[in-house]
């Protein structure tokens, strides 16, 4: 596209070029990445001051990792995100198998609308709704464990797990399954031996996204957590309210690293293999 040029007034003229657009775009990318780069850079800063460079050091990582609150929050985050990813991916896979390649099914719009609901409702509204609902359940049952966080996260992760799996199913060639059926494979055998292996990369991709979404959640967790159930993001939010300590840079960088690894895995898994 960029090479599409035309002759005008004797010299080469690119029709897709609009004056000022490229410089704006370059500045946008710089502005987008500079703050993140600064944050990562200062996480390795030996100095206590957030604005002075005191040499390279892993000091703040040590401070963060030796803080019991941080490790507890990290463990809570991993447990919640792990369960949420597994549960949401499991139910999303079933729903995707149910709603694709069947032609139009009565009520399909209702299913789609319900599955995508967490993407439509502002997080703060869901947070308030769950706060009220779980307060009732807590009073009735006395249970205050991590179950509430896992339940809430599993629900709002469903659309993120569902979308890549559905996309994969819609793009899948039906002829392999037809061939299996022609060779007298039962529907279950066809699913187990043909469909599932082909779908596996998308299932993992969906699980990665669900994990990242759960790991990043602040608002809903902040509202429904019981005392002592801080996740890494809610712990960081609490720190920011008090004072700015450089170890938050280190925690952010670690969290950023996990997200990047997961996203790269997602892109590799969901890439079409031709």
């Amino acid at each position: 596209m960029a090479e599409r040029t035309t002759r005008r007034g004797g010299k080469s003229f690119s029709v897709t070029r609009l004056p000022g657009f490229a410089p704006i775009a370059v500045v946008v990318f710089l502005v987008l990445y500079a703050p993140i780069a600064t944050l990562v850079g200062y996480s390795f800063n030996a100095s206590e001051s957030v604005s002075q460079w005191g040499g390279f050091s892993l000091h703040w990582y040590g401070v963060a990792l030796q803080n019991g609150e941080v490790t507890d929050a990290a463990i809570t985050s991993m447990i919640v995100a792990g369960f949420a990813a597994v549960i949401s991916t499991l139910v999303a896979t079933m729903a995707a198998l149910g709603t694709t390649r069947r032609g139009h099914v009565p009520g399909q719009t209702v299913i789609y609308a319900m599955i995508n609901q967490p993407l439509m409702v502002p997080e703060i509204v869901t947070a308030v709704a769950l706060l009220i609902f779980f307060a009732m359940v807590k009073q009735a049952t006395g249970y205050t464990g991590l179950g509430y966080l896992i339940l809430a996260h599993s629900a709002f992760c469903i659309p993120f797990a569902y979308l890549p799996i559905r996309a994969r199913l819609e793009g899948m060639d039906l002829s392999l399954e037809t061939a299996a059926a022609d060779l007298y494979a039962s529907p279950w055998q066809t699913f187990r031996r043909v469909t599932l292996p082909l779908l596996m990369p998308a299932i993992f991709a969906g699980a990665m996204l669900a994990f990242v979404i759960s790991l990043d959640d602040v608002v809903i967790t902040e509202f429904i957590k019981s005392p002592g159930q801080d996740t890494l993001p809610t712990f960081m939010m609490g720190q920011l309210r008090r004072s700015m300590k450089p170890d938050v840079n280190a925690i952010s960088t670690l969290l950023l690293g996990v997200t990047l690894v997961m996203l790269s895995a997602f892109f590799l898994l969901s890439r079409k293999r031709d």
Binding site: R17, T99, I111, P122, I124, V125, A152
Partner: protein, 302 residues
């Protein structure tokens, strides 16, 4: 024959619903159902120490715009609330306009790169999109705060004598929201520009259109569905934003999201919080329905 087909179709429908049931049940329990409880709570009486008393009251709803004088029980306009709504709408609109102004050239730039480079630029815009909002807010805070990099640079070059107070102002919240929500504008814009037939530009230039005319008369009308999509995708989360105004506005400069939280915390007025949540939900739903309509219209047009 046709009864067989009917039976097959019925079986198909049953399977579709049966397989979707676990997901739908989970969503009904932990996402959709609780919204109904919020609706009920908005019509109850606030409890003395938070939560509610089970007595019908409309004060949650009237409390959105009106306030009762504690001395003579007369109703007046709740100026503080209205200024919060106004700030939310104003900052959300400004964020939408600014993200469009810088997002359109960015999307155009990405879409007009050669295919390999395009994938790379697109990936670069996707990474911030998936990065934690808290981390990104935190990162921008490091740049604009008094002891931050921006002030350090400006001081060093003698452009200012004292650090600029940016954090805890509306400007800080605006900068933060533009920074956080920009990818939501660029991605749908990229999607329409990517499908845009560049031959139209040649046709336009052949007919002696100027660059400005090409932009205003050809590019903008054709990319309108993407512009609407991007605007709604930015406006909607801005309106319900919580983290960014909380950190950069410093608790004083609230937006609707923070105001709702306040009702469940120190404010101890759960019905008002519930009514505010419902109002936000209705506004957002209307915006999204508009979005779905433009998407469908786009599909019909080709």
């Amino acid at each position: 024959m046709s009864s067989n087909e009917d039976r097959a179709r019925a079986a198909n429908t049953r399977t579709a619903w049966a397989l979707s049931t676990p997901a739908l049940a989970l969503l009904a329990l932990a996402a959709i159902g609780p919204l109904l409880i919020v609706l009920v709570y908005s019509f109850l009486t606030p409890g003395a120490h938070g939560n509610v008393e089970w007595a019908f009251s409309l004060e949650g709803w009237t409390g959105i715009v009106a306030t009762k004088d504690i001395f003579d029980d007369t109703w007046g306009l709740a100026d503080a609330n209205i200024s919060i709504f106004w700030r939310s709408v104003k900052l959300s609109l400004l964020t939408t306009v600014i993200t469009f102004a810088v997002g359109f050239p960015t999307a155009w730039f990405i879409a007009t790169r050669p295919p390999k480079a395009r994938a790379m630029w697109l990936f670069l815009i996707t990474i911030p999109f998936w990065t934690n909002v808290l981390i990104r807010t935190f990162a921008i805070n490091q740049v604009i705060r008094n002891e931050g990099i921006l002030n350090a640079i400006l001081l060093k070059f003698g452009l200012i004598d004292a650090p600029l107070q940016i954090t805890y102002t509306n400007t800080a919240v605006l900068i933060g929201m533009v920074y956080v929500y920009l990818p939501l504008m660029v991605l749908p814009l990229f999607a329409v520009i990517d499908r845009f037939d560049m031959r139209l530009l040649e046709a336009g230039y052949d007919l002696y259109a100027s660059r400005m005319q090409i932009l205003r008369r050809v590019i903008l009308p054709i990319t309108k569905p993407g512009i609407i999509a991007g605007s709604i995708l930015v406006f909607v989360p801005c309106l319900g934003a919580y983290v960014t105004p909380r950190i950069l506005g410093g608790g004083k400069l609230m937006m609707i999201g923070n105001f709702i939280e306040l009702q469940f915390g120190q404010g101890r007025n759960w019905p008002l919080g519930a009514a505010l949540s419902m109002t936000l939900l209705v506004v957002v739903t209307i915006a999204l329905l508009f979005y779905v309509r433009t998407l469908n219209g786009d599909r019909k047009d080709g």
